[in-house]
């Protein structure tokens, strides 16, 4: 009797796994296989070789690009946190109609093409763009500022695109904090600032960590904004990869850079998953 029950259960589990097979096949063919190919190619140079990795680690171009990418990722993450936390806080604390409005404004850009937004920033930031025109009309500047086609433009547009990825996890974390907790802290004599720092901030940390991880990792792989707003000067890692393929036909080098980037992303995810669960990082979108 018991055996037939577990037999049935095994059959049930097998069926559930079977249902996931078509989707798993697609992801295997289009994620795992290409990544395996990439890894293979990165070790191949007319035979098994570490030549591509030696190049990546010895040539200054690659170091500079990784350095630049990390710097931009750190900047974007900090900017998103400073801009995003207060907005998440306001969204969580606001009353009904305001809450819906704030959330709508946060999600609005979320589902708009990255290209559309890159275009908008080009219009806003270029030499003859809206921002420069306004500043000149007001008389604040006499020469147009270089806002686009450089690191500033690329960073600003990236912050704009990734801000919702910071706000939403923090908002979700704050929503889970019981409101009477702050009252309890206040009734025990803690001032609002003290209560915020000792009670509220620690409890919203999982959201902050998820948001920072997502934003940092997504920036590491960003391609469209640096390409369109960087003016060819902001060569982030993803662009090194694509240029190696498109301009120089250096498959091996491109693959090696890709594998290094992938390992960095995986390492960050692993490190963070020891603090916050993987589902949480991805789930609270």
């Amino acid at each position: 009797m018991a055996q037939s029950a577990t037999g049935q259960d095994d059959g049930e589990q097998r069926l559930m796994l079977l249902l996931a097979v078509p989707a798993l096949l697609v992801v295997s063919a289009l994620v795992l296989l290409p990544l395996a190919w990439l890894v293979g190619q990165s070790f191949w140079d007319n035979g098994l070789s570490f030549a591509h990795y030696q190049r990546v680690f010895s040539e200054a171009v690659y170091w500079r690009s990784f350095g630049l990418t990390f710097r931009i990722a750190a900047l974007v993450t900090i900017a998103c946190l400073l801009l995003g936390y207060p907005v998440a806080y306001a969204a969580a604390m606001a009353e009904r109609p305001w809450k819906a409005l704030i959330l709508a404004l946060i999600v609005l850009p979320f589902w708009t093409s990255v290209l559309v937004r890159a275009y908008a920033w080009l219009v806003l930031l270029q030499r003859t763009g809206v921002v420069n025109q306004m500043l000149e009309r007001v008389g604040l500047i006499s020469e147009p500022l270089a806002l686009a086609h450089n690191e500033f433009g690329a960073t600003l547009a990236t912050v704009h695109i990734l801000l919702p990825f910071m706000v939403l996890p923090i908002y979700a974390a704050i929503e889970k904090i019981p409101p009477d907790l702050m009252q309890a802290a206040a009734s025990l004599g803690g001032g609002p600032a003290y209560a915020f720092r000792r009670v509220f901030l620690p409890l919203s940390m999982p959201g902050v960590i998820s948001g920072m991880t997502l934003v940092f990792i997504l920036t590491l792989g960003f391609y469209i904004t640096p390409e369109l707003l960087g003016g060819g000067r902001v060569v982030m890692v993803s662009m090194v990869v694509s240029r190696n393929v498109e301009l120089y036909q250096q498959w091996g080098a491109a693959s090696a850079v890709g594998v290094v980037l992938l390992l960095i992303v995986a390492a960050i995810f692993y490190a963070v998953s020891r603090v916050v669960s993987f589902d949480r990082i991805l789930g609270d979108k």
Partner: protein, 258 residues
Amino acid sequence: MSGPSTARVAFGAYVGLVLAFLILPFLIILPMSFSGTRFLTFPPPSFSLRWYQEYFGSETWMNATAISAIIALLTVFIATPIGVAAAYGIANGRGRLMRVAHVTLMLPLVVPIVILAIGIFFVFAKLKLLATLPGLVLANVMLGLPFVVTAVVAGLQSFDMTQEMVARSLGMNRFRSFMAVTLPQIRTSVASGAIFAFISAMDETIIAIFISGGQYQPLTKRMFTSLRDEIDPTIAAISTLLTATSFLLVLLATSRRK
């Protein structure tokens, strides 16, 4: 607590500014798309529909739009059923293997797309799938699956599975009871997953840059190439239309959620 203090007003102003920053690009694109001139002066000196005419009158743009729409529709038709099946398995399955399956299906969200694009380029070159419609659709199905799976798993978690058991105990087979009992109750989750997969396919640019070519170039690839060369106000018209479409779809996806 006293009334609105300076700190609160400052806080409100700060939040307002950040929100303004978030929607600023859309406030710019809309008037630009109706501009009467090629120059990017703002506000535009005169208004016209010429950039919309340019877009609707151009065979290249129209073809690219059709390709994008076809890719997105095919993506939805493939990603939705296999995504729903996988989500059903994940929601009802147990054990380590199922966890691994779930995480695997989320991979497209975390692997940097450029790396995926290069890898897919290699594989497609071997399989002769470069610059083909099936190649583009497959890539977008992969990218859309996490959206369908996430939405449907969430839907199934708030669904009481015993209802389906009852239908089966009354003699319906598993597939029919799913179709008759479960699916109607999770349909809003399925719909929002499908809509997000559609938007993701319409929006996909990076993989298309690497693997599309010839006559099968989606709208986003054409836009990207055009933006790299010069700023053409036609892009503002296209952007406005794309954004409007996205919003309508998102409204559809979220408003029906009860």
